[in-house]
């Protein structure tokens, strides 16, 4: 192991470093030493569950901002932030027609930082839809869907649909005139599905119009069903980036 690696400097810092980062507890959490050598820098990525989605090394063109504009990562960032703000909103929100609207209204007036959380959740949701579209355009115009990444593009299209579905189901939850009529418009579209339109609409709404059954269905899909599905496809998406040889670059 890397016990022998120590920063140069006065004895006090060396001692402090030794005590802080080479004690038994610290080393039980972080197996690798301080990332100041190439070996430890690679270990920092490879031995960390969150960072190990990355390769340990990458081609230098891939860190150019103009190559990707960070759009895929940004989408993931929005997803994580939406999870955090969404969990906070869930503390105060009851998905029933009697309470939904007043809970959201109370969130804006009675709860400290409630308005901020709701605003963040809404604007980041819009941000995620936009960044998904931009990410798709980046991947397309750089030809990054080409072999061997065909399947990952397909997973991306599924994730695009899931993002729109997540946003659409969340749209109903404030239970105001904007949400209920936007969802009514959308559900009328679903009702025109050839051969099984009425059935599709009925399954999604749990009834013939947007009511309390629709609210609980949209809520369940929004807070657990679709996020889980999206997380699964994201796992596949990220895994396949690595398996297919990282970011696309000229052959």
């Amino acid at each position: 192991m890397s016990v022998s690696e120590q920063p140069r400097g006065p004895k006090l810092t060396a001692w402090l470093y030794q005590k802080l980062f080479h004690n038994y507890v610290w080393r039980s959490i972080f197996r690798s030493g301080y990332p100041n050598t190439p070996r430890n820098q690679m270990l920092a990525i490879a031995t960390n569950v969150f960072l190990h989605l990355h390769p340990t090394r990458l081609h230098k063109t891939h860190v150019k901002i103009t190559h990707t504009y960070c759009l895929g990562g940004l989408t993931f960032f929005f997803f994580l932030s939406l999870t955090v703000t969404g969990v906070m909103l869930m503390f105060y929100y009851v998905p029933s027609p009697e309470r939904a609207f007043s809970d959201v209204a109370a969130l804006e007036t009675n709860i400290r930082f409630g308005m901020l959380m709701r605003n963040l959740h809404r604007w980041m949701a819009h941000g995620m839809v936009i960044s998904v579209f931009l990410h798709m355009m980046r991947v397309f115009y750089t030809g990054s869907y080409k072999p061997p990444r065909e399947f990952n593009w397909l997973v991306g299209v599924i994730l695009l649909t899931l993002t729109l579905a997540l946003s659409f189901t969340g749209y109903l939850l404030p239970w105001d005139q904007l949400s209920i009529w936007a969802v009514t418009v959308g559900m009328n579209m679903a009702g025109t599905v050839p051969l099984m339109g009425q059935q599709t609409q009925f399954i999604l709404l749990g009834g013939f119009e947007v009511g309390d059954d629709a609210l609980i269905r949209f809520y369940t899909l929004h807070v657990i069903g679709l996020p889980l599905l999206a997380a699964i496809f994201m796992a596949v998406h990220f895994w396949r980036i690595r398996r297919d040889g990282g970011l696309a670059r000229p052959l």
């Binding site: 809404r122 729109l164 239970w175 105001d176 005139q177 949400s179 209920i180 947007v210």
Partner: protein, 328 residues
């Protein structure tokens, strides 16, 4: 060039030469720090945005009060805009489903791995993108303006300065908007006395549209002479009854207006775009073609979103953005 590279690498090749060590960077710190900074910048930006602009919250939901206009979420108003111009199933479900399928199969059609990882990797890619964007914008905006039919008022006003009684002639109705083909257009073809085409009175001619809106489809049991009629298929299970078009009659004018013309336009214009650019010598490979189609789809989506969100007022009328009613 593109063809040569494809021949050498093959279509399924995912092999690449081993990269040189000096071209490599370590993910820690070079990439992880960029990601960290991006996360911090966007967190800060959205916190600032959220303190400045509040999310909308209108009055409590009430299905008895319909706002006018009622609009879908912004990423769906493009579909809502399509509904104004075609059959709801076509505009709201079939067309977007096909769009998603086309999107998903792009890499299975464009199988060369030539030019990957470069912005606009083919020689004409930028030209194709710009041309397709312009083509899609002009036709989308043009068709929406045509279907809105404002030009009818303009022309009528101008001509009425000269001739007070002038009206848009009936035989030119298709130039008003698409729907006028069904509602405002009248013509007839003479039919000989011997031919009896329907159950009604024979008046010597077939008139558009009223003689064309009830054409029995094959296996329809409710029209024609007695031997061609039969009872409803009660013996079938319910779901088969729903599938069997027992009393289906074709409303030909409505079908042409709501389905046929939109499909011809949605298939024909992309085809025209590709053919035009092939003739101009810009499109050589599947990649070039897919750039054109993808760009067209994105631009149409964008323009329909802008028009649906910003230019549709009460009754989904085409108005200027500041005339769109404020809903609360």
């Amino acid at each position: 060039m593109a063809v040569d590279a494809k021949a050498v690498t093959g279509t399924s090749s995912s092999l690449r030469p081993r990269r040189e060590r000096e071209q490599e960077l370590l993910v820690w710190p070079d990439l992880v720090f960029i990601e960290f900074i991006a996360a911090v910048v966007f967190t800060l930006a959205f916190v600032i945005l959220s303190t400045v602009i509040d999310a909308p919250l209108l009055n409590e939901a009430n299905l008895d009060i319909t706002p006018n206009p009622s609009k879908a979420a912004w990423y769906l108003v493009s579909l809502q805009e399509l509904l104004l111009h075609m059959h709801p199933a076509l505009g709201g479900v079939i067309a977007p489903t096909f769009a998603l399928i086309i999107l998903a199969v792009i890499p299975y059609a464009d199988r060369s791995n030539d030019g990957q990882g470069i912005w606009f990797g083919t020689p004409n890619a930028v030209k194709i993108t710009l041309f397709s964007a312009a083509f899609a914008s002009i036709f989308t905006v043009g068709m929406i303006l045509y279907d809105q039919g404002r030009h009818v008022n303009v022309v009528t006003n101008i001509v009425q300065h000269a001739d007070k009684d002038w009206q848009w002639p009936g035989y030119l109705a298709p130039f008003q908007n698409v729907r006028a083909i069904q509602t405002g257009w009248t013509w007839s073809v003479p039919v000989p006395e011997a031919a009896q085409l329907g159950p009604g009175e024979h008046d010597g001619a077939l008139h558009w549209p009223e003689d064309f809106d009830h054409i029995p489809m094959p296996f329809n049991g409710t029209s024609g002479p007695d031997w061609m009629r039969w009872g409803p298929p009660d013996f079938l299970p319910g779901w088969l009854q729903a599938l069997y078009w027992y009393d289906l009659n074709l409303n030909l004018p409505a079908f042409i207006v709501e389905n046929f013309i939109p499909v011809v336009v949605m298939v024909g214009l992309p085809a025209l775009l590709i053919v035009t650019m092939r003739k101009m010598g810009w499109v050589h490979t599947v990649r070039d073609g897919s750039i054109a189609i993808f760009t067209g789809m994105m631009v149409v989506y964008f323009i329909l979103t802008i028009i649906g969100a910003g230019f549709r007022g009460a009754g989904q009328d085409l108005v200027l953005p500041w005339d769109v009613p404020h809903i609360d």
